[in-house]
Point group: C2
Chain length 460, copies 2
C-alpha cells in the first residue's frame, strides 16, 4: 500500500501508458504562476475511460494520490501533484466523439481542447464559446468551472455542459445529465462535478452545448480618461441589457504591458476591448447603443476590427495578458488574482485594488471580464524574494476581503486549488461543513487530487 | 424520540406557529394529481429562518420527519408528508427582502410566489421570468428545479438562482453562492440544492436573477394539420436560433379540453402558442422569421395577441391545461407525465406518446414546452379504478422508456417525488450510488422529506 506499489501495479497493467521518465515528471511538476514545482511520481496517459478506471481502481487499492491534468494551464495549482502519486494526463483522450448540429451539442473526450474542438466543428456553422484564453482542455475547463471573455454573453462552463461521464474514487463510471436541454431528475451531479477540481471524480467525457456562429461579428476598442469612467460605462451597458459578446477592461498598467510585449502602441490609459455578435442589423444596433453610453463617459480613440484577421490579432493580444504582465515585470513570475463582485460594486473594487497595489509597492496589471463583474490583478513577483511574496499575499488577502465585503466571491473563474484555500472559511462559513461531508462521502480515501480546494481541517 | 414528542416540544417552543387542527392536517394532505391524501401529524408555520432552525433542530433531536411545503402545487407528490411528522409551510415567510435593479437581482424568502414577486417589482422595469403555470413559491420552484413556458428563452430555476440560504438536517444555516454573476469557489452547493426536493436541506432564502421587461411583446397562435408538422416547425425554429420567448405545443386533444373548459372555440387540430420578446424591430424580425418557417410546415389560422389583455387571456388559458384536461376527462383526476428529449427526437417522442395512449384506451392531452424538447401527456384517471390506474402506469413507464431511448430524461420539470422513483435506476444507473452517499452524508437520520426522490435501496 504505497505510491511505489501502485506505480508498479499500473506499469504491469498499462505498460508504456505509465511513465516515470525524468522529463515527464519535471514537465508535470511545472506551473505558470508562483507555486513551487512539484513533480509527481509517475505520469499516466490513459487512452480510454477503461484505462482511467484501471488507474483509479489500482490507485484506490494502494491509496495512491491521483492528480488529473489537462493542458496544465490552471492558475491556482490545481494540476500540481503536491501529494505525489500519479499525474493522470488526458493528452491521448482527445477525440471529438459526436457532433449533433440538429441538437446543437457535441460529445468530446476530456482531453479535447477548446481550439481543437472549434477547429473540428468549423464547417458546421456552430462553435463552442467558452474562452478562458489558454487553449485549455474541456475536462480541465469543466473541473475548474472556467469562463473567460465570452461568458458575459454565452455563460461559463456551468451553463454550457449538458452531461458528463466521470470515474469516481472507487473506479465506478457514472453518467450525469443527458442530451435533454433541461431536467428535474435527481441530484445535480453534473453541476457538483463542474468546478470540483478533480476532487470528487475524474471527468472523462463531456456533452457540450454548441452555439450558432453569429452572422456578423465586430470588435472595437476605445479608451477612457479614468478607470472609473471605463467601469461605469460597463455597468451602464450591462444594466441597459446590451447583449455584449465581449467587454474587457484593461487598466493603464495592462496597456503598458501590451505596449512592451506586443508593441501595441496604445495610449497608456484605461481601455475597453469589445465584441458584438448578431445579425448585421443587430450588431449595428448594439454598437450604436454602446457608443452612445460610452460617449457619456468620455470614450475616445475608437478603433474597429471588422476583419477576421484584425479581430484575431486583437484577441490574441488580449489573451497574452499573462505574458504581457510578465514582460512589464521584467520577466518576474506573475501572481494572478481573480475576484468577482456584483457589477454595481465593480468600480469600487477595481479602484481599491489599484490603490492597494500602489500602497504595497507592487507592479500590478488589471484586466477583467468586467461585464460579469470579474477582474484580475496580475502581480509581478520574485518567488525568491520573501518580502515581495508576502506583499503579494497581503494584496490578495485584501482583495479577497474587498470582494467578500462587496457581496462577491474570492474566485470568479480561476478556482481554489492551492492558492485560495485560505479564503474558503471566510467565503463559505458553515457551508464548508457539507462540502467536507460530500468529499468524505465520495472520496473516503482522499486519493482524488488531495490537498486541493478544501483547506486542511485544522486551518480556519 | 417520536413524532409525538417532537410536536410537543415544538408546540412548547413555537406556540401557535404549530398547528394540529384537523383542517390544517387535511389541507396539507391533499394534492392535485393521483396520489392518496396523506395528512401530516402537524403543520409548522415558521416566520423566520430562526424558526426553521428551531423546527429542524427539534425534529432532528426526535428523529421526526419534516416535509417542506410552498404552494403545494408540486405534481409528483413532493409536498406530501408520506412518513408523517411535520409539514413545514412557508406561508408566513413571504417577504421580498431586497431588490437591486442595478445588479438585476433580488433576495426573497422562500414563501414568496412568482406572481407575488412580479407584482412587487412591477415598477422597476424588471421581471422574474420562470413561469411553471401555478403561482408556485420560489422555495418550491427551486427545490423542484421548476421551469415552464419561458425556459426556452430565460432558462429554468437552475439558471436563475444566484445564491441560497438553507437549513441543513442538523439545523445549521448555510449560505451558498453570492450576488456575483459567476464563481469558481468550491463545490456548487447552490445547484446541489436546486432540484433536491427538500431532501438535502430546506431552502429559506433565495437570491434571484431579474431580467429587463421586454420593450415589446407579441403573442400569437397558429395551427397545423398534424402534430408532426407542428413539432418539426418547432425543431426548425430552434435550430435557426430564433430567440422564442415561448413556444408551446397543444395537440388536438388538449385543444378539445380548452374548448370544453374555456369555451375557446379553436379548431381541434394541433396548435402552437407563441410569444416574442425584444425591441419592436426585433419582435417583428422574429415574427417574420418564424412565420416563414411555419409556412413551410403548413401553418394556418394565425391569430395575434398584441394587447396585454389578449396575451393574459391566452396564457391564462394555456396555464389552465391541468383543469382543461380534467374537464375533458369529465372531472377525473389527472395523472400528469413529464419527459424531455433532445429536440431532434421530439416528433418521434410525441407521436409515440399519442399512439401509446390510443393503444391503451386512455384519454390523454399533450401540451409541451417544446422549444426545450419537454412535453406532458395528461391522462384522465379514476384512482378508484385499478385497471385504469394500471394502464396509466403502463403508459408512463413506456413514455419514460421512450425518453431514455431517445437520449432524454424521465422528468423535464416536475421532478421525481413519489411518482418517478421507479425510473431512477434506469435513468441514472451507477450514478444513484453517489446520490445516496450524498443524502446519507447530509441527512444521516433521513428526516428531510423522507420517501422522496431516491428509490428504496431494496428496489432496483
Amino acid at each position: 500500500m504505497s505510491i511505489k506499489s501502485a506505480i508498479d501495479a499500473l506499469t504491469a497493467q498499462l505498460g508504456d501508458k505509465i511513465s516515470t521518465s525524468q522529463a515527464d515528471l519535471t514537465l508535470h511538476g511545472q506551473n505558470e504562476t508562483y507555486f513551487p514545482n512539484t513533480p509527481p511520481d509517475a505520469v499516466a496517459y490513459p487512452a480510454s475511460t477503461e484505462d482511467v478506471c484501471t488507474i483509479v481502481k489500482t490507485c484506490a487499492d494502494h491509496s495512491c494520490p491521483i492528480t488529473p491534468v489537462g493542458a496544465a494551464s490552471s492558475l491556482e495549482g490545481q494540476h500540481l501533484a503536491t501529494a505525489g502519486g500519479v499525474s493522470l494526463d488526458f493528452r491521448d483522450m482527445n477525440q471529438v466523439l459526436e457532433v449533433s448540429p440538429e441538437d446543437l451539442n457535441c460529445v468530446v473526450q476530456a482531453g479535447v481542447t477548446r481550439k481543437g474542438l472549434n477547429q473540428y466543428i468549423r464547417n458546421t456553422g456552430l462553435f463552442f464559446p467558452v474562452d478562458p484564453g489558454a487553449d485549455a482542455s474541456m475536462g480541465g475547463m469543466a473541473a475548474t468551472r472556467a469562463s473567460g471573455t465570452t461568458a458575459v454573453r454565452y455563460g461559463t462552463m456551468r451553463e454550457n455542459i449538458l452531461a458528463l461521464e466521470a470515474v469516481l474514487a472507487d473506479g465506478t463510471v457514472i453518467r450525469t445529465g443527458s442530451a435533454a436541454r433541461k431536467a428535474s431528475n435527481g441530484y445535480d451531479l453534473t453541476h457538483l462535478l463542474i468546478g470540483s477540481e478533480g476532487t470528487l471524480g475524474i471527468i472523462t467525457k463531456l456533452t457540450l452545448k454548441l452555439h450558432g456562429l453569429p452572422e456578423a461579428t465586430t470588435a472595437a476598442t476605445c479608451r477612457f480618461e479614468t478607470v472609473d469612467d471605463a467601469v461605469n460605462c460597463v455597468i451602464a451597458t450591462i444594466q441597459c441589457g446590451i447583449p455584449m459578446a465581449r467587454i474587457e477592461l484593461l487598466d493603464h498598467m495592462m496597456v503598458r504591458g501590451f505596449n512592451k510585449y506586443s508593441d501595441a502602441g496604445l495610449p497608456e490609459v484605461p481601455h475597453l476591448f469589445l465584441e458584438f455578435h448578431g445579425s448585421p442589423a443587430a450588431v449595428e444596433d448594439q454598437r450604436t447603443a454602446f457608443s452612445e453610453i460610452a460617449h457619456e463617459y468620455g470614450a475616445s480613440g475608437w478603433k474597429t476590427a471588422d476583419t477576421t484577421e484584425d479581430r484575431t490579432a486583437l484577441w490574441a493580444m488580449r489573451h497574452d495578458a499573462h505574458y504581457a504582465s510578465a514582460a512589464l515585470g521584467n520577466g518576474k513570475h506573475i501572481w494572478p488574482t481573480d475576484v468577482c463582485v456584483p457589477i454595481s460594486k465593480l468600480a469600487e473594487a477595481v479602484g481599491q485594488a489599484q490603490r492597494d497595489a500602489e500602497k504595497l509597492g507592487l507592479t500590478a496589471t488589471i484586466v477583467g471580464h468586467v461585464g460579469d463583474g470579474n477582474f484580475h490583478a496580475g502581480l509581478s513577483v520574485d518567488p525568491n524574494d520573501p518580502a515581495e511574496m508576502k506583499r503579494a499575499e497581503q494584496f490578495t488577502g485584501d482583495l479577497c476581503k474587498t470582494a467578500l465585503r462587496l457581496g462577491g466571491t474570492v474566485s470568479g473563474e480561476h478556482g481554489i486549488g492551492l492558492g485560495k484555500q485560505r479564503y474558503m472559511q471566510a467565503e463559505h462559513g458553515d457551508a464548508l461543513t457539507p462540502m467536507r461531508a460530500i468529499k468524505a462521502a465520495l472520496d473516503p480515501k482522499n486519493i482524488l487530487n488531495p490537498d486541493k480546494m478544501l483547506p486542511p481541517t485544522n486551518e480556519k
